[in-house]
Symmetry: C2
């Protein structure tokens, strides 16, 4: 069964090996292990839920259990609230519409009774998209997950139409039965939904081949308070505003996506992930820029910095094998500070192999040492498993958090350095150290995403842990916008990133977004307080109250 | 010097060979040749221009000559108005801003004096983007062409920032000096501007490699009546609404683009265009669909239907060579009804050649007969010259007009047939025949653009020629939307396509677009009557009055 206060299925456990713990202890200090008794129980969380304020409706479940399960997402503050039993506000109920008509009915209901709606896909948001504002207005969470069927597959145009609440694995399974794939694999893949990907502008690990969700989303149907918006599919169009782009990134502010048509491709006949090591960051960054700009048709490029490379090797287990690898790499000039590049190729066999051959040739020009597919196979095996490390780390008294941005090439290295430094300074004010490392998760001719992980110690106390997170999150978010980065390359804005949105959109851009959402949702019932910074004070105060609750 | 009443430079003439004329006469009847005396003179056109109603301004030229030169675009009704000296309304003046500050000054002026502004790039619109509405409101055309410098080139991120009024050849020349290209080559390339490409969502002939202008436009500055909208560059972002997508396709309704940053690439070291013939449409269409879906990294795919292939061969001259080619093709099974596919490849030599080799292998699988690069070289040589045929055809008493759309694969053939049939039926009601032919100009995994050309006889009389065009344009536009096609894949909406926009956007989509433009332009001074069908009645009546003037 799915964990209510952590990541994933509760039968899946990843242990942190003693060596890994020693590695962390050496860097940021040992921590006190926690056991189940340290966390609030599901029953305690349910007991703390206030009575529902919603008028009854056939589609709405107001039971405490379902409300707790839809109260929060997967951001670190969400975790802290769940683990410490400090949920604060939960939605007053959860609706499970099975059709667009059901959704329309719920929108009418919301407008009639002035109920705030929070669309809920897989609940994997790490940016506070699901936070319930503390206001007099009742709040209804609307789960899209019963709209999950494959409605239509057009093989000729390679278009598949799904209910928007379909989960990643279910979507791929339905396509696989016909020989197709969408190829959209964000790390949250197992628990996130197609609709969630679209309204948060998600990006998959193999977007280099398959495209970001923006490129995959061909059309669909959104129910909005001011009516149904149907978007037809065209291969391309010059006819005015592209309505898909209004839906993309709308984060529940304008309506609920019920159906989406996506561009699929035949399942690849061949796939491989190779690893190449570089002696240092400079040569590695130059190499990946050249690889991205050469447009070779690879499916993935992912470059870890020195500390991430070291961390991955330390946590990999297989001490002897890794030792041998490091000895070999050292002989080849890749010692301390070495950086690992993962290259993926997918598709028809000859084409995919040719692309990889060209890539490896180019990769070697900057001093890259190719070590084959073993590390890549391992990475692929664990691509959706690494998220479980958050559970294991928590049990050992550590938290893992991440932020990500994207910047043009001249600012990639300085942004990485600024984000890591900001995190260290921020936690130093709490007398704590943080282990930070970074990878470039998505590479473009123009620049790259910069994805930084933070590991630091739990205080074991809700207020102090929230304070540590707030200090760190504020510092790294400010560093990102100061470096000219976007506040999100793949996670979206939600409530956590909303205060930083104006830095990139400008006042004129923010006002335009507000005008669009006001047009579709004149009463403001859709996901209030998310995405747009003008609603931020309400969110901030709700969080403050949630803390004190 | 640039022709005021036709395409291109007035020193360039393309003759129609006697064989070509015989070919046309056989199909749609002979026509009476026209000479310069049959057309209105520039002096006559200038004399007919009404006195300017604009309050004076240092940036505005109210001379008749400049106003005539900015009164119309290159659509067939625009041509008819110019050639017959029936311009109707001309703008009351033309402004030549040299900076964003100048543009802001003009926007203040327009709002203060309630002047309608029509942004003017290269004036190559074929959809009535420049039509001056007949209203009490004075109209100012704003030429962007003095904002044309390369401001900045970021080699690392492959980004170039230009004044938005830069013409295609000037843009490429400024980039070439640094070893780069934008690679955006619409047929209007020689006389269209970067800003025009962006606000009409233009697509170049090699978009398969370089992308449509949507993919090339990375950021920029637009001055709007409600303030400046600055769009920063990011390689990608998940942060809410992508503001670029609001500017793209806005067709002057929200402001004037003054600066644009575009994604450039190193000039290709190798480029080649090959031709392959297929015995019939079915096999050719299947082949190009497979080629597009194989994503081989070609730069162009362009498939002519049987009649277009026949027409191109007939108009090519070189009767002997073409005869030999046709004999050879006939032996190889490509006789009557054969279809020509043009394949382009560009980039680094090994990669570009490998892509072509793979493509030709795949092309042969469906019976394609490869004839090498001769036809392709010829095509490349004439890629911007074929537009001049419109001038030559006019002189021989024929008009050439085109429409284009894009549809998903299952509707490609039926759309092509419906558009051609609609044109024939439409002109039959005028007792005329029309020679129609089609090519798929841009190919996507999902579908293709369908680009149809019409050649028919001039009546030699303004009212009848306008009536023929109106009947034909209405019939083919209706056929497009009835087939589920977009009303434009690459030319935009303007006033000619506005009545058909609601068919694809729906009432909800149209209302959303109107809300966006109203937000940026609350007084409605920006290009009134264009793009949105709600303003259509005013346009239609202006056209009607323009005819009667």
């Amino acid at each position: 069964m799915r964990r209510w206060n952590g990541w994933g299925d509760d039968t899946i456990h990843f242990a942190l090996a003693p060596d890994a713990l020693a590695f962390l202890a050496q860097r940021i200090g040992g921590s006190r292990s926690r056991d189940a008794g340290d966390d609030a129980s599901f029953e305690q969380a349910c007991a703390a839920v206030a009575p529902s304020r919603l008028p009854p409706h056939r589609l709405i479940d107001t039971g405490a259990a379902v409300r707790v399960r839809h109260a929060l997402g997967q951001s670190l503050p969400d975790w802290l609230k769940l683990r410490y039993g400090r949920i604060g506000m939960a939605p007053d109920g959860v609706a499970f519409p099975e059709s667009a008509d059901d959704v329309r009915e719920l929108l009418h209901y919301a407008q009639r009774y002035r109920v705030a709606l929070i669309p809920h896909g897989g609940g994997t948001s790490v940016a506070g998209h699901l936070t319930v504002e503390d206001s007099a207005q009742p709040v209804l969470s609307v789960s899209t997950t019963r709209m999950c069927r494959l409605h239509h597959l057009d093989r000729e145009s390679q278009l598949a139409t799904f209910g928007a609440g379909v989960f990643g694995p279910d979507l791929e399974a339905q396509l696989r039965a016909h020989g197709y794939t969408l190829g959209h694999f964000p790390q949250s893949f197992e628990y996130s939904t197609l609709g969630g990907w679209i309204v948060t502008r998600s990006s998959g690990q193999q977007s280099l081949r398959y495209g970001r969700i923006e490129q995959l989303f061909a059309g669909g149907v959104m129910e909005t308070p001011s009516g149904r918006l149907e978007i037809q599919t065209f291969p391309a169009s010059a006819a005015g505003t592209d309505l898909r782009e209004i839906v993309l990134g709308s984060e529940g502010r304008m309506g609920i996506l019920t159906e989406a048509t996506v561009r699929v491709t035949p399942a690849p006949e061949y796939e491989a992930f190779h690893a190449v090591f570089y002696p240092d960051w400079k040569s590695a960054e130059t190499a990946v820029r050249e690889l991205a700009q050469a447009k070779l048709g690879l499916s993935m490029l992912r470059l870890s910095n020195g500390v991430e490379t070291q961390t991955m090797l330390a946590l990999a287990g297989h001490k002897k094998l890794i030792g041998a690898l490091e000895a070999y790499l050292s002989l080849r000039g890749c010692g301390e500070g070495k950086c690992m590049l993962m290259l993926g190729t997918s598709g028809g066999k000859p084409q995919a192999r040719a692309a990889m051959a060209q890539a490896l040739k180019l990769a070697r020009k900057r001093g890259g040492v190719h070590i084959g597919c073993k590390m890549g196979d391992k990475w692929k095996q664990n691509r959706f498993r690494n998220v479980y490390l958050r559970n294991a780390a928590w049990e050992h008294g550590y938290v893992i958090d991440t932020v990500e941005t994207a910047v043009d090439w001249p600012r990639v290295e300085s942004t990485m350095q600024a984000v890591e430094a900001a995190a260290k300074q921020a936690l130093a004010t709490h007398g704590e150290m943080v282990h930070t490392y970074t990878h470039l998760s998505h590479l473009y001719a123009q620049g790259a995403s910069v994805y930084t992980t933070f590991v630091y110690r739990l205080a074991g106390n809700f207020d102090e842990d929230m304070a540590r997170w707030r200090t760190l999150k504020g510092a790294v978010s400010q560093a990102i916008v100061d470096c000219g980065g976007t506040i999100s390359h793949q996670h979206g804005v939600g409530s956590d990133h909303a205060p930083y949105l104006a830095a990139e959109k400008g006042a004129a851009g923010i006002a335009a977004m507000a005008a669009i959402f006001r047009h579709f949702d004149p009463q403001g019932v859709m996901n209030p307080g998310k995405l747009l910074p003008d609603a931020q004070p309400a969110v901030a105060s709700a969080q403050a109250r949630g803390m004190a609750a």
